[in-house]
């Protein structure tokens, strides 16, 4: 039965208090450990079509008569359109329509950053559309631009009030502490660079708008477009069957969707609007830069008595301010904590969520500082972390927490230190570093799934979610197959179309599996129950003695064993329809994911080259559905994190606010040659309080601790403290020089 509750809902670490209609979740969790299908490695259901190039991405959608749109963008960091004339563009060959500022959501008169969308043109070819942009007559009024985040905070150019938090008495704890360490850390802007750029194809079919779009949230796009365009939500259909990566940047509709929809309306033709790579790297979102001034204080026995941080999130013109202080508040047991977070509003491209926003940045600062504290205390860094283990989240119990077990498993990797040090030589210094991970990933309601069982014996799971490349289709099929008692290949999962299935959550915030999985299991259980009801009547047995195992209906006494598809033939044209809903999260509990990375790194002390040689990643995310896919997620997160740590930086011209690293020769993501040995371990212990599955999400956790673990390994190898990401040769050589000077200087008093 549906129930109305008032609860806190979390997405990407953002909380809001909402009314929520939830359905009860009567299923008991499965026993821990690998089952018949769940917990066993499974090849992706859709791997073959993706590998063979048959999968149709939004980039591959071609509709009859489709036009191509190009977007006019501001060349100025801050300016207002004084006047604009689209007519010259409309007169050019191939051009069918144009749309100006305020004529579609996202196209605005005020451009808050260089690259802000202003107008768009649709033509027969993209080249024609692009050429037509040059013909648009536009007059700009230049406005004052602020590009420096600290200057912005000083001048009051901020998004909202500073976010302040305090527990205990921070000042007193610091004053009375035996050891106090401080550090300033900076993280850079990094770019998502999904291989498929942001794009949509829009077509009006009578009064219905069909949107094919590369998105992490088909329902979110549906609702946003309906709201902005004043349409009934079911007049908007959003389709995303295959999706070329998002990493947090594709959670909303975007100007490209609205421009395509408006141009399609004006021209009566389908319109495609796809960002170029350069637009992608200018205007499609980024992980914002941060500045973190941190303090940690401890008593001489290693008890952390105070943690403090002053943070600046350099947000850009838009986006939201993620909780950079989050790890500092919840990773360790500490009675006295004070944080303040300023959010600078500067004239740079807007932030969008990027794989654990806030926590990636905050963990870099915090976990480097904790290592510094360990040195000041002359304590083993792993021991210090164990000693300050948090047993609650500021008084709220954890639904489950196996971080201690992660530390136990990290020990054998940590114990390789001597061996690693011994491999150092005159120029290459080797060391080991570690960092802990904490992040959300519990998901939540609502989310729904349907199941359909036919006389052909097939089991279809239908839900209007999207698989953005994380293997969701496969995990859902595994859950349905396990519950139903059939082999994996008997289950097909249909996703990616708001008109063909019930509401499903967004594929972001490590929430897809924990949100969708329980609904899929419930839907499979509902259908299975009905199958057994019919079987009980057919064989004149009590339903409670019947079960489906490995594709056969069996009775407890073993007298009945009939193949499911043989039995289901009885249905004829009848179908068994199951439905399932995601139940509520446990009340009064904090649902979080945990982990530890142990990194072995080598530094060429003469040239500043840093090589990550080995990463041991141990994660506690509840029950693992597909160990193969889970390992891929961890490897992917680690590799992306290595890019963030060593080679990726979005650079901007400080005079004009223009982005300089818009191309992939200048914005350098890791290649296959940069990949270290990655050892991946899971605790695989179901969270007994969380849904009928006990599973949490895994998309984000593996990218959280990697930067700090690398920096700590560098410190171990060389004695050099890096404070800034990326750890370029320039930063590495600076830190080495500083360490040398420190060693040369008289001992501190």
């Amino acid at each position: 039965m549906a129930r109305l509750i008032r609860t806190e809902k979390e997405v990407e670490g953002n909380f809001e208090e909402v009314w929520l209609v939830v359905e009860e979740d009567p299923l008991q969790q499965w026993p821990a450990g690998p089952l018949d299908v769940v917990g066993r490695p499974a090849v992706r259901k859709d791997a073959r079509e993706r590998v063979r190039g048959e999968a149709r991405f939004t980039a591959d959608i071609r509709l009859p008569g489709m036009l191509h749109a190009a977007v006019l963008r501001s060349p100025y960091a801050h300016a207002r359109v004084k006047s604009i004339d689209l007519a010259p563009a409309l007169g050019l060959p191939g051009v069918h329509g144009a749309v100006g500022p305020s004529e579609a959501p996202g196209l605005e008169h005020e451009a808050g950053y260089s690259g802000a969308p202003v107008a768009a043109v649709a033509a027969e070819t993209f080249g024609q559309a692009r050429a037509a942009l040059d013909a648009i007559a536009i007059e700009w009024e230049l406005l004052d631009a602020v590009l420096d985040p600290e200057e912005a905070v000083e001048r009051g150019a901020v998004h909202g009030e500073a976010e302040r938090y305090e527990r205990g008495d921070f000042d007193r704890a610091v004053a009375e502490a035996d050891v106090v360490v401080e550090g300033t850390y900076r993280t850079q802007v990094v770019l998502h660079n999904s291989m498929e750029t942001h794009q949509s194809v829009c077509e009006w079919v009578d009064d219905r708008l069909d949107i094919y779009t590369s998105t992490q949230y088909v329902w979110g796009v549906r609702n946003e477009v309906a709201r902005e365009l004043g349409l009934a939500p079911d007049r908007v259909r959003v389709v995303c069957e295959y999706m070329g990566g998002g990493f947090g940047s594709k959670n909303s509709a975007g100007e490209y969707t609205f421009a395509a929809a408006e141009l399609a309306r004006r021209t009566g033709r389908p319109v495609r609007c796809a960002l170029t790579r350069r637009e992608e790297n200018t205007a499609a979102g980024n992980r914002n830069a941060t500045i973190q001034k941190l303090t940690a204080a401890a008593s001489s026995d290693g008890t952390i008595v105070a943690l403090g941080g002053e943070f600046v999130n350099a947000l850009g013109w838009g986006g939201w301010s993620a909780s950079t202080e989050g790890p500092l508040k919840i990773l360790y047991a500490c009675d006295n904590v004070r944080t303040v977070r300023h959010t600078a509003k500067i004239n740079t491209p807007p932030m969008k969520a990027f794989r654990a926003p806030g926590f990636v940045e905050g963990t870099f600062g915090l976990e480097c500082l904790i290592d510094q504290l360990a040195r000041a205390l002359d304590l083993d860094p792993l021991e210090l972390r164990r000693k300050n283990y948090a047993s609650s989240n500021d008084g709220t119990p954890f639904s489950s927490k196996n971080l201690r077990e992660c530390y136990e498993r990290a020990q054998k990797h940590w114990d390789r230190r001597d061996e690693v040090h011994a491999r150092s030589d005159a120029t290459w210094k080797r060391g080991v570093g570690m960092a802990s991970q904490i992040w959300y990933g519990g998901g939540g309601p609502p989310s729904y799934a349907w199941t359909r069982v036919g006389s052909d014996g097939s089991i279809a799971v239908v839900t209007a979610m999207q698989d953005i490349g994380t293997g969701t289709r496969t995990a859902m099929a595994q859950i349905a197959a396990e519950e139903f008692g059939v082999p994996l290949e008997r289950v097909e999962v249909t996703v990616g179309d708001t008109s063909r299935g019930p509401y499903a959550t967004l594929s972001a915030g490590s929430s897809t599996t924990p949100s969708m999985g329980p609904a899929v299991r419930a839907a499979a259980a509902d259908a299975k129950r009905q199958v057994l009801e019919i079987a009980a009547q057919r064989y004149d047995l009590e339903q409670r003695v019947l079960d489906i195992r490995n594709g056969r209906i069996v009775s407890a006494d073993g007298n009945l064993s009939v193949a499911l598809d043989e039995f289901l033939a009885i249905l004829g044209n009848a179908q068994i329809l199951g439905k399932g809903a995601r139940g509520p999260n446990p009340t009064g509990m904090s649902v979080l994911t945990f982990g530890v990375h142990v990194v072995e790194a080598a530094v060429d002390v003469e040239t500043g080259e840093v090589r990550v040689e080995r990463v041991a990643a141990i994660h506690d995310v509840g029950r693992i559905i597909n160990p193969l896919g889970a390992e891929s997620q961890v490897e992917g997160g680690v590799i992306q994190g290595i890019g963030h740590t060593l080679s990726e930086a979005r650079l901007m011209d400080q005079e004009t606010g223009r982005i300089l690293t818009t191309t992939l020769d200048a914005y350098r993501m890791p290649t296959i040659a940069d990949v270290p040995e990655i050892v991946c371990e899971f605790i695989d212990e179901p969270d007994e309080h969380l849904t009928n599955l006990g599973s949490k999400g895994l998309g984000e956790p593996p990218i959280v601790p990697i930067a700090a673990a690398i920096a700590n390994a560098i410190r171990d190898a060389t004695g050099a403290d890096v404070h800034e990401l990326p750890i370029s040769r320039e930063e590495m050589l600076r830190a080495l020089r500083e360490a040398k000077e420190r060693r040369g200087a008289p001992a501190a008093v």
């Binding site: 060429d604 003469e606 040239t607 500043g608 080259e609 090589r611 060593l646 080679s647 650079l651 901007m652 011209d653 400080q654 005079e655 223009r658 300089l660 690293t661 818009t662 191309t663 020769d665 200048a666 350098r668 890791p670 290649t671 040659a673 940069d674 370029s728 040769r729 320039e730 050589l733 600076r734």
Partner: protein
Amino acid sequence: MELLRPSNLAELDGGLFVHGGTEVVPLLRDGILHAETLVDIRELVPRGIDGGRIGAGTTLAELEASPHIPGALREACRLAASPQLRNMGSLGGNLLQSTRCWYWRLKYPCRLHGGDRCHAAEGEHREHAIFANDFCASAHPSDVAAALLALDARVRTSRRELGLAELYRLPDEADRRTTTLEPGEVILEVEIPPAEASIYLKAMDRKRWSFPQVGVAAARTGGATRIALAGVAPVPWLLAGPEDLDGATPLPRTAWKVEVARALVRRALTEVT
């Protein structure tokens, strides 16, 4: 636009020359190069390795795989660009590639584009030059050119023969070009004198597919060792000796490159002597 494919040099009459296209095609699209006529010169330019003579049409992939060329050149090819680009790009084209300076590639009205200031010098220049950077701070990206400069290679064009160093010129107020190649002139062949030992060392910010932050080539012939650098000046840069690095004039954010160059020069010299 038209595409011509002349089969002998006498047919050449203007137009923009294309070989592998890895540089010309993107620059055309970006409006940095302009042409009504493209001239596919692949049939005109020799391809292949014959002792110390290398056809300018030889691809970097072919050079990378050749046991018959000096180590510095082979390594410079192996570490250049990406595998696909090495399959496409020719030796001659590689020598003529333009800087990766983002201001130049994004068409800022900089000095190389005929403007009156170097945007990099006052802006983001962490990957820019440490030598000869007062007029234009761009860095020359050719690994291969540095290797050939150290190897004291000579270049034969459709009109003349010249030392590799003479192929390049520093841009100045009067002339913003970085090569001495005249319109209509085609590089046909590179000739490398025998070297006893040679090496190319390259600092990159990822292990592959990166233009040189600093590339150092060293080659020993007789008693003499030549050292040449990539990524440190608007043209491939010859050092008289390691002490030349004392004369570097780094920008505020390129001082680190001097340090990297020092280490790589030291290592390269140890390897070849």
